[in-house]
Amino acid sequence: MRATLARVGAITRKEFRHLLRDPRSLAVVLLLPVIELVLFGYAVSFDVGQLPTVVVDQDRSAASRAYVRSYSASGFFDVQTDATDLTQVDTLFRENRVRVAVVVPAGFGRAVAAGEKAQVAVLVDGADVQAARIGQAYAIALNARYGGQLTAAWADRQGAALTGGVGLLEPRSRTWYNPERRSSLFLIPGLVVVIIMIVTVQQTATSLVRERDLHTFEQMQVSPLRPAELLVGKMLPWTLLAFLDLSVIVALGIGMFGVPLRGSVPLLVVASAVFILACLALGLIVSAVSPSMETANVLALMIAFLPSFLLSGLAFPLASIPVWLRWLSYAFPARYLVSISHGVFLRGAGFAELWVPLIQLAAYAGLVGLVATVLARRRTP
């Protein structure tokens, strides 16, 4: 047993030495997580604010100016320019200089004063879909509020109740877990998953294939190492590094970006451990089927990177995608850990709420572990 430990330790030391000699790999493992964290925590989000806006005020009355002012006052629209007609608006859209155009036709002020329906038009640029969705929603909300104010003011002047005594429903909304709906709060817990996956799948796959490419694999096979010891020794460094990355991201996420950690920490640790095992097994499978390092690298990228970003619910809700893709998402481990991670960090969930994804993850890890063992056996006679 002690001899086994010594041999595993030797392999682990060897791997760390390889890593230290290759500063770029080291940077990928240690720096990439921090860069991504800063990108996701600070630079990118879905929180669109201050959409560049152009105003076409053809009425030029006090009422139209007050209406236009409500856009800049809302904080969502950044009124940058004025235009006199719609062809100018078209040019501005095409040159990508504005996202929203507010058109107040002549007669607006007169209609407001007379208690009629005052016409306005809002154009939102559909070229950037996220910005368009949000711009549309803001515009609807702003106009509903402003219209309500106009109606109430007019009713006050008339001294009449508008609805004729019919009671109305009023939605009172609450947003749980993330009241300001900051996207960094849900992107960072998901990011943990992507980072672990890149570090483990990609690095184990390429490091195993490299060993084969350089013919040092056979050297190790003729040494007193048993296959299992070799494998454990090769994987241990990446496991440790994955846990290190995990801790760094969690610490920075909580400390710098105010991500809450409300739920069960033991659950998160257990789930991450199972997830890392599954990823290592995936890395083994990739290394076993790849004839060259390039192939291993591209294959690992395709397994680790794209699906963990897009088919995991990290940034894009899985409820909205076609059913066959939802089934496909079960083939990649990221989705299980992302739902656990979101639950633990944001919803304060524990084993009671999250046992389903945890068991699914464990079953998945067992399955890919089995496949990896069979493939690795076949590859090393």
Binding site: L39, A43, N96, E116, G126, S173, F186, A319, I321
Partner: protein, 378 residues
Amino acid sequence: MSPARIRLLVWKEFKQLRRDPLLLRIIFAMPVLQLIMFGYVVAADVTHLPTAIVDLDHSAVSRQVAEAFTASGYFTVDAHPVSEAGIRPLMDSATISVAVVVPEGTQAALDRGETAPIGVIVDGADGQTSGVALSYATQIVQQVNAHRLAAYGVDTTAAPGLDARIRVAYNPSIRAVNSMLPGLIGIICMISITVVMSQAVVKERESGTLEQMFVTPITHTEYLIGKVIPYTLVALAQATLVAVVAVTWFRVPFNGGPAAVGVVVVGLLLFMLTALGLGLLISVVSRTRHQAQQTVMFLLLPAMLLSGYIFPLESMPRVLLPVAYAIPLTHVLIVLRGAFVHGAGFAAMAGPLLALVGFAVLIFGAALLAVRRRLRGA
């Protein structure tokens, strides 16, 4: 310069490509995979949100609200907890992401002519969905109100107020594929060219064939052209595949005329030069293939995230905008989306096209110099 020698070198590169069947398959599988991912996942519109309705009123109006939510298609009502306390566990386990609460006495309050509150709870953990869910829910409640008013003979259309026509130009139903897939053409070009080009020189140096190459009569320029052509052709094939699938299968409209097609072609060619230059630079500065791959990985990820492809540039802090505009991908995305969605011509796209010219000259020029120096040393 001898075309025959260049042709031979191109031939050799293709032969080497064919020897690695998996890599070849990946080159063709990657665009397809990304089309599926971006066409179906990123572009998915928020619908079928799992919803719980807590009906504490058991009245005509509460049934009306429940029906309106079910009929909208945005919400899938699959839980009916008997009390508000029942929402918490469902939300905690992410079984539902929206809950609607109709409090007791709603019907009575409405009958008295009062305003009755109705609770809408959304799961903020599910990020962007929650905002969309709230605006859908608000619209549905307004619809219920309008129905009730109409039933009592109150005509809201004649009432004073605003008649706001809010329209999304160029892409009226906000179909996400319409702008995601044109952008994907640029992304695929970048990934595939940079990944393969970054290997080109370093691979030959690693296996020692670079020296062999230069005892043959081939010149440095011929060598470079012969290296660049095959992978440019591969990338062009991929880009065309994406464009054809986007237009035929995903029915992405091309809103521009011939000028817009010209904009796309010119923009893509300039961008390809930039990507080729970047790949060559990486290839020259890397000692091993592995290092080259790591460097590519390191550069591509921030480029994709900061380019405005998924996350809009408007959501970025102002101080980071110069960084976003220092990425060539940002400009080619503006060009591709402008041409496809806006139908923009050369005049409107002059800014980003000029920026691409600048990048192409700068990066490809630097790559040429670096490769020459490296080859002379070889």
